[in-house]
């Protein structure tokens, strides 16, 4: 009886895993085919491997990927900078209005993103940031800063106070305490924030769609929806583009899967 249940649960798990991974198998396999092979035998291995698909797709997505990388790294850096500073203030100082300031930072998590879509669009236009990297960086960074502050505050409050006091006695400045103690000891949380923010920034579609136009600032997500190919080549080129665009994060995931799991689940706090 027990063995049957165990076997059954493995079988079910296997089916779930198969169904989850199947589309990605199809994506990779068909990215090496031309139109005919995709339409007739989507499940089979390619008869003739069309590596040319990747060459053609690469040309279409490389610039947007570079743009997305610039934006992603900038958003991560900005979010880390502002939330490290804020978390340090909340964790280390007692000051008037501390609770109020915290509330001001957290309250905006309640507002659904699309309510702000139009006014944020107007705002970046007013600031002359339409179709610039600044416009792509600031509003998404504002969205992640609250979660970052929240997570880092908890982490820094968990650091033993005697450590801070000892450093103070030695005459360390706040900047030194921040960079030598608070930040290094919050390492795992910082990794979580980097991944959470990075995933959101790289995968963001709606904001780049409304806040940019043309190739100079085009983000990879938008570029993927606008890829072109000839009828004979077919969707294989598109699929190759999708694979290329997914690769950076997949590679990172291979090296830091634990941090990714933390980053994906901590995103839950973000609402």
């Amino acid at each position: 009886m027990k063995k049957t249940i165990s076997a059954l649960s493995r079988f079910l798990l296997g089916i779930l895993l198969f169904l989850t991974l199947m589309p990605f198998y199809l994506l990779v396999m068909n990215s090496f085919k031309w139109s005919e092979g995709i339409v007739k035998h989507p499940f089979r291995l390619a008869e003739e491997w069309q590596f040319g698909n990747y060459v053609k797709a690469f040309g279409q997505v490389i610039r947007p990927m570079f743009n997305s990388a610039v934006v992603t790294f900038s958003v991560i850096a900005l979010v880390l900078l502002v939330s490290v500073l804020a978390a340090y203030a909340f964790a280390r100082f007692k000051f008037r209005g501390s609770a109020l300031c915290y509330l001001i930072i957290m309250a905006m998590l309640m507002i659904p993103g699309f309510v702000l879509l139009i006014p944020q669009f107007i705002q970046i236009n007013r600031l002359g940031m339409y179709n610039t990297f600044w416009g792509l960086i600031f509003p998404p960074a504002a969205a992640s800063a609250a979660t970052g502050t929240f997570l880092l505050r908890t982490a820094m409050e968990g650091i033993s106070n005697s450590l801070f006091e000892a450093a103070e006695m030695e005459g360390a400045t706040d900047l030194q305490i921040l960079t030598r103690i608070a930040v290094p000891l919050s390492g795992p949380v910082i990794a979580t924030i980097v991944i959470m923010t990075g995933l959101n920034a790289w995968n963001n579609y709606l904001w780049p769609l409304v806040s940019t136009t043309g190739p100079n600032t085009q983000q990879v997500t938008v570029a993927l929806t606008k890829m072109v190919r000839t009828a004979m080549e077919g969707d294989g080129i598109l699929f190759a583009g999708y694979v290329i665009a997914s690769l950076p994060l997949i590679l990172l995931f291979c090296f830091a899967s634990r941090s990714f799991v933390a980053g994906l689940t901590q995103g839950a706090v973000k609402g």
Partner: protein, 301 residues
């Protein structure tokens, strides 16, 4: 000396200055503007007249908008159903595996699709669900069920269900089932081994253990996940915008896509702001209700 103490006094605020300015410039001011402009006939440029509650009155008589809320509620019910079922069962199945190593490998295999950009998953399913050359129709044809083949996204009856089916069984989709799966699995691992051991000795069967131990122990996670999915499902945008833009007809028109259309296609930005404020209120009410209702359910337990 005096200067130094003044510096000490304002120091905490200096640390908060960057985050507060970021939020005020890119969140608070836009939100205030959104609220204000919901009372204006506004196209984002030259047309800008105060019209009182007219936008709101129009919204409550706008058939497409009201229907779009109905569609969002359907999405919500389906996605809440998904949230509390398949990821939970999958987490249980994985937790039941004895080998820690195998657990790790399987969890990793489930996690890697979650880092694939959402747009890629949507475009991939666009092909799977496609009419002539779609993979699903290809399968149906090859197993002799060609009468069932259908342009899934192009048919008013099947477009919304097809969009909701994207990512089936949803464990690889970070926001819908993947995060839930990881959270539930983490929580199961957190249940004390003693408790499970004791239950085993008392002869508790799997079914009893699931309902009497696992579900109560996961109550707070389940509640949080339901709340998050309620909020996110009402904002569903990307999949529908990329695949059908609300069509065919208005069969997949959800609030966020309708707002986008009103705001950016028709430049009715005042009206769009009003729609946003209404939806914000709606989400707020649902969240409060959700918290109250789920709390009660817990007390009954």
């Amino acid at each position: 000396m005096k200067q130094k103490s003044l510096f000490k006094l304002i120091k905490p605020y200096l640390f908060l200055l960057p985050v507060l300015s970021l939020l005020i410039i890119f969140k608070y001011i836009p939100f205030g503007m959104s609220f204000q402009k919901s009372f204006y006939n506004w196209n984002g440029a030259n047309l800008d007249t105060f019209i009182g509650f007219q936008n709101y009155m129009e919204a409550f008589q706008d058939r497409i908008f009201l229907q779009s809320i109905g569609k969002a509620l359907i999405v919500m019910v389906v996605q809440v159903g998904i949230t509390v079922s398949i990821p939970l069962v999958t987490a249980e199945l994985l937790f039941a595996m004895k080998s820690k190593r195998a657990q790790y490998v399987v969890r990793t295999a489930f996690t890697f699709p979650m880092v694939v950009p959402g747009v890629v998953v949507i475009l991939l399913w666009k092909w799977i669900l496609g009419g002539d050359t779609g993979v699903l129709n290809n399968i149906l044809n090859s197993i002799g069920l060609s009468q069932l083949a259908n342009p899934w996204l192009g048919d008013t009856k099947t477009a919304l269900p097809a969009i909701l089916a994207i990512g089936f069984p949803w464990i690889g989709i970070a926001a819908l089932g993947g995060m839930q799966f990881l959270v539930y699995f983490g929580a199961l691992q957190g249940i004390a081994g003693d408790l499970l051991e004791a239950a085993k000795l008392d002869g508790v069967n799997i079914w009893q253990r699931f309902w009497k131990i696992d579900v109560p122990m996961l109550a707070s996670q389940l509640k949080l996940m339901v709340t998050l999915v309620v909020i996110s499902s009402l904002q569903i945008f990307e999949s529908i915008f990329i695949l059908t833009k609300g069509g065919p007809g208005t069969s997949t028109m959800v609030p966020a896509v309708y707002m986008y259309e009103q705001g950016f296609t028709y430049r009715r930005m005042g009206y769009c702001s009003a729609l946003g404020i209404i939806l914000f209120g709606f989400i707020l009410i649902l969240t409060v209700f959700n918290n109250k209702f789920l709390k009660k359910a817990e007390v009954v337990e």
